[in-house]
Amino acid sequence: MKAVCWNGIHDVSVETVPDPTILNPRDAIIRVTSTAICGSDLHLYDGYIPSMRKGDILGHEFMGEVVEIGPEVMNLKVGDRIVVPFPISCGRCYFCDHEMYSLCDNSNPNAWMTEKLYGQAIAGIYGYSHLMGGYAGGQAEYVRVPFADVDHIKIPEELSDEQVLFLTDIFPTGYQAAEQCDIEAGQTVAVFGCGPVGQFAIRSALLLGAERVIAIDRFRERLQLAGQVDGVETLNYEETDAMEELQEMTGGRGPDATIDAVGMEAHGTGLPALYDKAKQMVRLQTDRPTALRQAILACRKGGTVSIPGVYGGFVDKLPMGAAFNKGLTLRMGQTHVHRYLRPLLELIRQNKIDPTVIITHRLSLEEAPHAYEIFKHKEENCVKVVLQP
């Protein structure tokens, strides 16, 4: 089959590799019909995440048709059309049992490494380094899905791939970010970062009852996309002092909740060398290290800072004094995607949200190397790339 392989920094290529096979009784193999490039894939691309190996297959946002199932998968059959969540979850451990699927105890073959770094075992993620399990990803014609009986949602025929593909990650991630804000009617939420996750966080905050969302970014096309939604005001932090504006716009009280949809995932395992490099790159390109600090500083007293942006290692100069003295609640973590699959599919069916609006590029799998380049450099107003194998 064809698959997008990571070869090194800024080097991905489409290679012919063996087809995946069933390795465990709860596995399934799916033929990928649509897959997307995530902002977090760019950090693999930029080489910030250690423990990638040359030849690793990328991609954690994908969907497709079941072509083979393991002997223990009873609720799927060949031909079923499914969307697969990006965290791999066994469905039976304490955490899965408590609907904290992205904290699964049992899905990472390299769990002991994460135990040393984070204190406990961290779940596996498709195509996201050997630290996160080393699983082959879904930017390919076929992919192996472990725990397939738990890790899927079946998609009705009337919905297109593009309508449901983002249930894998970014829609639930934006939704969880908004849900974590415990929004009450009439409240104002500020969203830092208007990439794909920010776009879904903005729309979700309004669905959850926010009266007003203030969206902050520096890319005009992303701000425009956010500003199309009723109830959204935008701030371009390159053109204005966003921090001052936020206080002005909220009568000096500050937004009731702030969302950091930027993250610092470039930290990887927290190596200072990589971290410094990341910080540098990030400052040059997207101003990332400031997003969390700003989210904390902008938030009103007693408010909530919600962090869907990914962090991997250590953070410098976190304004803990501000967070403490303002009595803030900080909520964060990888998304418990499985928890949101049904309710969000329902929102899509009822046309309460149209996930397709963020798609700017539809390309073939062979065009993946080009897609990574334009997405990384935000060329051609690239917001979201969908690849069709």
């Binding site: 089959m1 698959a3 392989c5 990571w6 070869n7 290679e15 012919t16 590799v17 063996p18 087809d19 995946p20 096979t21 390795l23 465990n24 009784p25 709860r26 250690p50 423990s51 190996r53 040359k54 030849g55 690793d56 297959i57 223990e72 791999i88 066994c90 469905g91 039976r92 451990c93 304490y94 049992d97 105890d105 049992n106 899905s107 990472n108 073959p109 390299n110 769990a111 002991w112 490494m113 040393k116 770094l117 075992a121 596996g124 050997h130 630290l131 399990g133 080393g134 699983y135 082959a136 192996r144 472990p146 725990f147 395992t269 927290g270 190596l271 200072p272 060398a273 990589l274 250590f314």
Partner: protein
Amino acid sequence: MLASNNSNENQGLGEWAATLGGGLMLAYALRRRSWSSALIGAGGAALLYRGATGQNPAERVLQEVSQTADGIQVHKAVTIQRSPEDVYRFWRRIENLPRFMQHLKSVEALDDGRSRWEARIPGPLPLNWEARVVRDEPGEILEWETVAGSTVEHEGQVRFVPKDGGRATELHVTFSYLPPLGVAGAAVAQLFNAVTEQQIKEEIRNCKQLLEAGEIPTIEGQTSGRVSS
């Protein structure tokens, strides 16, 4: 973990170097992915931990190394989302052990609580021993040891402690291999060369995975750009 005065004074450059060195060792281990490099990885992770926290785990590492010279001594606790009765039943059927303990080739139950074990070691020589259950309190504790005159001294103790109102089990495992008194045979030497405490700890994690998820997660044999089609 206790932080010594020394480690506190060494923050700064030492911390940074530990983090970098530890990271490199960890990255190396992740690339190699063999059990020997797993040790390097563990060392690397310990250094990363030191770099990250300013605490020095070296004392503990040294302790583990000296234990290794005397044999293998493992203590590990895991919480399993199954009742103590379920987990006990699984362990009491001692033939189940090779399902999650890769270093065991087979365990065969004999009568009277006795069992015959064979280790999975490299080389042509087989390593067998016979063990017997010495304590059996259903749902609470299970203990066995090798019979007198075995080629290797092995002891196991498993305690099953109810958690979350009995829905889950805290499993406390003690597992040891000691060289016999006198001259150890070549096969025994192979066991101590091939099996590490870290590996046995992983195998106990595999027990949890098998009991909860019904399988042990793996990427062994999966496709990649490193395999030619």
